[in-house]
Every structure is written in C-alpha cells, then in structure tokens.
Amino acid sequence: MSEIPMTSRTDSEAIALLKRQAARRPEFFSESGLDQMFSLVMELAAEVWVLRERVFAIESVTGAEDGAMAARVAAWQPSVQEAATLAEMRHAMLQNLFRTIDTGMPAAAYEGETADPIPPERSVR
C-alpha cells in the first residue's frame, strides 16, 4: 500500500491513526455544519489537485497531441476487476470527504491544564 486515502485503499493502521483525535474540532462558523462543509471542500480541492497533476503527467508522458490515445481513453470500458477497484477507490474517497462527520472520535475530550481561563465563546463546542 503506497497510495493516499482518497484514491486508494489504506491499511488498518493508517486508517486508525487518521481517525484518531484527542479532542473535538473547533467551529469557526456560526452556521451549523459549515465547518464540516469547509473541510469537505478542502479535501475535495486536494483531490482535484492530485487528479489535475496526474492528468498533466499523463499528457506529458504520452504527448498531448496524441489523438489515438485520446480516442482509446474515450472508448475505454473498465473490466470487472477494474470496476471493483474503482468502486473501492470511490468509497475511500467518500470516507475521506466525510471524515469530519463520521470521525469515529471518542466522546471524551481532553480536559488537561489550559493556559488561560478565557477560552473564546465559540472556540470549542
């Protein structure tokens, strides 16, 4: 396994670590759910960039003017095995996109010493 979570499967150790979080996430926006939406957009932006770079690399390796390659891509149909692989990749991507909603986070937040007794009213809910 050497791929990233949104475009490939991860092993259990990586998934466990990615889900581990010692305290609740802060909320910066007053509208409910907007913080999760923002995270979703950021993950999506990262994924878009990864794909843009990969497309750029493919075009660079094959030659952007290669009309035959473009036609082959347009006509391509996944095999059964390839379709299953894509389904797993999509699922991993969706898990990552919705990571702030389905966190697997323990309910208890860290209650250790704080540096200052004036936490902002909306910093941690």
């Binding site: 990233i4 991860t10 923002f38 950021m42």
Partner: protein, 391 residues
C-alpha cells in the same frame, strides 16, 4: 514539492501522495501569507475603526481583538483554512508512513551504530498527560507510539509538509540559526558538552553537533518513539548524538556537567511550573560560565495587540494549552529563582540561517535585539526570537 528528507530513513512517497503534499504546502503558504495579510487589512480597515467608533477607544488587548474577530468572516475562513491545512499536513503523510513502517525499522536497524551516537531509553519514565493524551499540533496519536518508529516518522515527514519549505532541506533551520548565532556572537565560547532539551526527532540537535564538532551533544525528550527514530536519523547523517529518554525537569546529568543547554520551541509546550523546574535543572547541570540558549515564541510584551492575537491562534486552535501562558510570562522572572542573575540575561532575534547569506547572517547575529511584526511567525521573511542566560 516537499523537500525530500535527506537522511537514511527517508521513504519514497507515491506520485499522488507527493501531489497531495504539494497541495497542502501551497494551501499553508497561501493561508500564512496571503490570507494572513487579507485578515490584517480587514482588521485595519474595518474591524479596528468600527470598534473604536463603538467603544470610544482602540483595542487594548489581544483578547478583545480575538472576541471581535470571532464574528468576522475573513477570520472565520482564515481559521477554518488554517485548521484544515494543519490537519492535512499530517494526513498527507500518514498512509505512506504507515505502509513503510517496517522498511523504516529495517533501515534503522542497519544504520544504528555507524556514527557512534547512542540511544538510552527509560521504560520506567512516567510520561506527562500532555504527551500521552494531547494531540499537540493536531498530530494524530501525539508524540508517543507503541514502541516503534511511527510517531517519529509521522512527525519527521509531516514536518516537511507543515513547514512548507520554510525550515530548509533538513527541517533544521531553527537549530542551524541558533547554533550559528552562538558561534558568531560568542566566538570565545567553545562548548564541550551540549544538551538539547525536548528534542523530538533531533532535527534541531544535529546542527549543534555540526557547528561545534568538538562537542559531545546530548538530546533528551520524554517520548521514546521520536528518540528511537531520531537516533537512527542522526546516525544515518553521520552525526554522533547521544539520545536519552529523560525529563528535562529532572535530568540525570551530573551537577556542572554541561557547557550549553539549548531548546527549540520547547518551553511553550510545558506548564510554567515545569519551566521553573527546568530552569532549576539547567542551573544545576551548567558549569560556571555555561550558557542556556532558548529559541521560543516572541514574548507578548514586545508585540502589538494584533500581533499577539495573531500568534495566539495556536493556543486556541492548535492544541497548545501552555502557549499563551508562556508568551505572557517573563522568562527572566521564571529563571531567577533557579539562581540565574538578571545581568546575565540577554534576548535576541536572528534571521533564518539557511535563507541568509553567511556574511549577512554574521552581521545580523551581532546586532542588538530587534523586532518586526513578523517575528516568530512561520512565514516568509521571518526572524526567530531567542533568549540566553549565563551561569
């Protein structure tokens, strides 16, 4: 792209992972430079004037600014983007590190012993709760992991993304800058024994051994996983460092056995009570004439309320519970009970060694304390703050 780690524990990241890390680096640089500037303009042009009109006075503290900015859209988007970029720094490397962890262990086993450094772990050491239960800097799992290299490897690889290229090719710019500051500012000072406290993977310990090759360099931390990784990391670079699992507030070194005690970004990670104990230990282990050199966050007393508000972001949103208390404290007052004298206290700022021409760095290292608005902020054109004490 993230500057590849340049030591024997480096792993090959898949092309898509590198692309993801590139994105996070770009996001962080955008947030810390462009968005930060946009937020400052919004504050200057709208938030501060509106507050002054309403209250009949300007802002008097960073806390007032913080409360006001909580409702500001630019602050909300800045904070959300920065928080997510922080999380994504670690998330972009964890799958790669986890999948290569056995390879890292094999490399470490093959490397150990090549540079004549050492690793001494203390399984009986009781780890403080802020290490075992707090994901400082939002790093999943924190600094300790189950007897392997995972936490150290996640930290090392994640730091290359987090630092967005600002800490140089070995992510050691802080260590380089402070070691060379001491060499330039105190040419007569030739330390023979140095200890770096709160060293994690020793990335900032290595420059001290490189700058003072005649010195015996020790590096201590309470967490074993970064030490284990850091030992192999230093060995692979051919730099002999003696790593110890040891609490900086209760060091095992003998009285008056060290010429120089250093730390980088360490004190703000511990409580004021522990800082006092740390200074007492420093005084005990330092030889007469020895020196304490500390790289830290810039003190609040030297900064305008807005800049304090800006730096305090980490205290509220980056799991740094002791950050504000340290910045608001007076380091000298914390150190005096240990025996350090006020006349032996000095403060300084230095430019980034790996980003500055050597002659210019040497010139600036000899200047007196100077601050600018970006002092202590991780961004382009930053200066580091430090203070020192002579015994």
């Amino acid at each position: 792209m993230p500057e590849p780690l340049q030591h024997g524990l480096k792993i090959d990241h898949a092309r898509d992972s590198v692309a993801r890390q590139d994105f996070v680096i770009g996001l962080r640089r955008y947030v810390l430079n462009d968005l930060a500037e946009a937020m400052r303009r919004r504050y200057d042009d709208q938030v501060a004037p509106a507050f002054a009109r309403r209250q009949g006075r300007p802002f008097e503290s960073q806390d007032e600014i913080h409360r006001e900015m909580l409702g500001n859209t630019t602050f909300q988007f800045y904070s959300a983007a920065r928080y997510n970029a922080q999380e994504m720094s670690w998330r972009s490397v964890i799958p790669e590190v986890a999948s290569h962890i056995d390879e890292i262990a094999q490399k470490a086993a093959a490397i150990t012993g090549t540079a004549q450094g050492s690793l001494t772990l203390d399984p009986s050491l009781e780890l403080p709760r802020n290490v075992t239960e707090l994901d400082v800097h939002l790093m999943p799992g924190g600094y300790e992991s189950r007897g392997d290299y995972l936490a150290g490897a996640v930290y090392d690889n994640g730091l290359t993304v987090f630092s967005a290229g600002l800490l140089g090719p070995h992510i050691d710019d802080i260590g380089q800058s402070f070691a060379h500051y001491v060499a330039e500012r105190f040419p007569e000072f030739s330390p023979r024994r140095i200890v770096d406290c709160g060293c994690t993977v020793g990335h900032n310990s290595v420059p001290w051994a490189q700058t003072f090759p005649g010195a015996q360099v020790h590096a201590i931390d309470v967490a074993s996983a970064p030490l284990r990784y850091g030992h192999a990391r230093a060995e692979s670079m051919g730099v002999p460092i003696h790593f110890h699992q040891m609490d900086a507030t209760s060091m095992a070194f003998e009285d008056e056995s060290m010429d120089l005690v250093v730390s980088a970004q360490f004190l703000h990670e511990v409580s004021l009570k522990d800082i006092r104990r740390y200074f007492a230990e420093c005084y005990r282990v330092l030889k007469p004439g020895g020196m304490l050199i500390t790289m830290e966050l810039a003190p609040a007393r030297y900064m305008q309320p807005y800049d304090c508000f800006y730096l305090d972001w980490d205290a509220y949103y980056n799991r740094e519970p002791y950050y504000r208390a340290f910045r608001n404290a007076d380091a000298l007052e914390l150190a005096r009970p240990a025996g350090f004298a006020a006349e032996n206290f000095f403060e300084f700022t230095v430019p980034q060694y790996t980003k500055t021409e050597p002659a210019e760095f040497a010139r600036q290292a000899r200047l007196d304390l100077s601050f600018d608005n970006y002092c202590g902020q991780l961004r382009d054109d930053m200066r580091y703050y430090g203070f020192g004490l002579r015994k």
